[in-house]
């Protein structure tokens, strides 16, 4: 079954089509969410929310556009929402003077957990830069595609990408320098 048939099936309410759609794009959505938020638990929530939103609003999808890009736009927006929510919670917990259970949980919370996580170097990038770099590196997206996901102009997407690549290069070089010095 091709993508358009799957979408038509989902629009008709076919559970098998919905399942096939999740199985086709689940890993992609999970990896993008994980790379943007850097946290597996949050990435899973984003993943579920994104697919539920897709099924709810599939009627609004324009078949002239790429379904993958439309889906990733939803994932990106959900990820930004999650980051903002976490930031608000962290600010609140700092004001309330107690140590939050989940705030600042950037890396893998279970050291024995073999699940991979994105590099800590990515914390030096803004969510937009991280998303642009992730789509460029993992998905081979061009500035035009990235602009569609980030809802900005191509030139702005190119600037995000330049900045992200420059920062990462500096961080990588500094990291190597530290390793050589130690």
């Amino acid at each position: 079954m091709d993508e358009q048939e799957l979408i038509q099936g989902c629009l008709r309410g076919s559970s098998a089509s919905c399942r096939a759609l999740v199985e086709s794009y689940g890993n992609l959505v999970m990896s993008v969410a994980l790379n943007v938020v850097g946290n597996r638990q949050d990435a899973e929530d984003i993943c579920q929310d994104s697919f539920l939103q897709v099924f709810r609003h599939l009627g609004r999808y324009d078949p002239a556009r790429s379904f993958k890009t439309w889906l990733l736009t939803i994932v990106y927006r959900r990820s930004l929402d999650m980051i903002k929510k976490k930031r608000r919670f962290t600010e609140f917990s700092v004001r309330a003077r107690f140590e939050p259970a989940v705030a600042g949980r950037g890396g893998n919370p279970h050291p024995a957990d073999p699940e991979p996580l994105p590099s800590d170097l990515l914390k030096g990038l803004s969510p937009r830069e991280r998303t642009a770099l992730c789509l460029w590196a993992n998905e081979g997206y061009t500035a035009k595609d990235i602009a569609e996901v980030l809802a900005c102009s191509s030139s702005t997407a190119r600037v995000y990408l330049f900045n992200a690549r420059r920062k990462i290069k500096i961080l990588l070089e500094n990291g190597h320098g530290l390793l050589q010095n130690s």
């Binding site: 559970s15 919905c18 399942r19 999740v22 199985e23 086709s24 794009y25 689940g26 890993n27 992609l28 999970m30 990896s31 994980l34 790379n35 899973e44 993943c47 579920q48 697919f51 539920l52 099924f55 699940e115 991979p116 996580l117 994105p118 590099s119 170097l121 990515l122 770099l133 992730c134 460029w136 590196a137 993992n138 030139s155 702005t156 190119r158 600037v159 330049f162 900045n163 992200a164 690549r165 420059r166 990462i168 290069k169 990588l172």
Partner: protein, 158 residues
């Protein structure tokens, strides 16, 4: 190389982001030295989790279908669209402005100057007797409402 440093200085000195973006984009696209200082696709890819590394999407379907069923059981409430929320906020702000202005106007009206009885000339200004040309004159006193100015008009009695 020196030009790249000038661009770096300009980048941090320029106040407007669109200008900075334009400068960095134009320079980066043309400068081979700066392009060499960017992380390559392979270097960047090494930092991210690839789709094939994240696990089994079949588990995901189980969780999504469970949540979808849970949401189907609960009565559906249409979320207010973003535009409607802004309209409500604008209406509330307008109502607040109208209420504050009304309160202020009411307070102004209650001040002594707005009271018709207290604004009467007799309360502030009194003439007992006016003579014009050695004879009692017709006298008219007028004070505009809310003003401290008093007009006195005296003329010979015909």
């Amino acid at each position: 190389m020196a030009f790249c440093k000038i661009v770096d200085v300009l980048y941090s000195a320029l106040p407007l982001r669109p200008l900075r973006d334009l400068l960095i984009r134009k320079h980066m696209e043309a400068c081979p030295l700066c392009q060499a200082r960017l992380a390559s696709r392979a270097e960047a890819r090494g930092l991210f989790v690839a789709p094939y590394e994240v696990g089994n999407a079949a588990d995901l379907w189980g969780r999504i279908s469970a949540r979808a069923a849970q949401e189907a059981d609960t009565p559906d409430r249409e979320p207010a669209p973003a535009g409607a929320r802004w309209r409500w906020a604008a209406a509330a702000a307008t109502a607040a402005v109208v209420a504050v202005t009304g309160f202020w106007l009411l307070r102004e009206v209650e001040r002594p100057g707005f009271d018709a009885a207290s604004a009467a000339p007799a309360d502030r200004f009194q003439i007992d007797y006016v003579n014009v040309g050695g004879a009692p004159a017709q006298t008219f006193v007028y004070q505009p409402q809310g003003s401290d100015t008093v007009f006195v008009w005296a003329q010979k009695t015909p």
